[in-house]
Symmetry: C2
Subunit: 165 residues, 2 copies
């Protein structure tokens, strides 16, 4: 019930080899600077890459590539080149070494700013330092994980009068 | 783009007075025990209540009560009794002092287990100790904040073959 924020694909890279991890456990922490908390289990191949390079891209996919998203979630970068296996296209980021995924409608280049919660919760605090978005995608059909391979696809948009940020 | 997990309404209580806070900045941290990270700004009335009582309910509303959800987000419990003002019904929780909101389809009774990230990030780690869900609600039309009063309402459900938890 709670994890149904947008599913994201986190890319990391080291030694000329890039990896992709599918993930839903993240939260905004601060607007200025834009900080995000990401839980990346130490059982994932991306954990070591993120810890050593301190850089990643948070890529946001849509339902059009749902099977690739799930495929990246079900395999390990320890044995699989996920870009090749799932036909995803790496594009160079501007400020960091990890690649953007071209097939995602938004890509957020991030640097790790705090690792104090990593040993206890595998929770990395990252700062978004550069954001890319495809302006042609109007109402992105983001994926929201409901558990065990069930996903909700983003539905109708409503606008209410509010002072919320 | 990132905060569009389900909008939740967090209830707290102290001295016979309960409060409601509308919020989207939360993430699952662990399955067992079920831990959730919630960012609650120290500018919110709920911050002090949660810090002192170490108890809250995470209530999950649906689009049917969207205006009440936004109303709770736009007002402060320092001056407003939000249950009375927005016609919401408090129900006693089983294990803690903060009330459930009857109009929400799911209610998670929580205890704060870690406050070490509160001073720096206003991030509380809470453990879900009791969960209530209305079995009559099949595909809950949860709200997902896109910013500035725009919300996405949960859309179609899809099921993909996956080993994800």
């Amino acid at each position: 019930m709670l994890e149904s924020g947008p599913v994201v694909m986190i890319t990391t890279a080291s030694g000329g080899r890039a990896n992709i991890m599918t993930q839903s456990w993240h939260t905004m922490i601060e607007f200025m600077p834009p900080l995000v908390g990401c839980v990346i289990s130490d059982r994932n191949h991306s954990f070591g890459l993120l810890k050593s390079t301190r850089e990643c891209v948070i890529n946001i996919p849509t339902a059009e590539i749902a099977e690739k998203v799930v495929g990246c979630g079900d395999t390990s970068g320890a044995t699989v080149d996920k870009f090749a296996k799932f036909g995803l296209t790496p594009q160079p980021a501007e400020l960091i070494g990890a690649p953007l995924i071209e097939e995602c409608y938004a890509n957020l280049e991030c640097r790790v700013t705090d690792t104090k919660m990593v040993s206890r919760y595998c929770l990395f605090v990252v700062e978004v330092i550069k954001a890319w978005i495809d302006p042609a995608v109007k109402d992105p059909r983001t994926l929201h994980h409901l558990g065990k391979g069930s996903f909700m696809v983003a539905g109708e948009r409503i606008k209410l009068k509010s002072g919320m940020k």
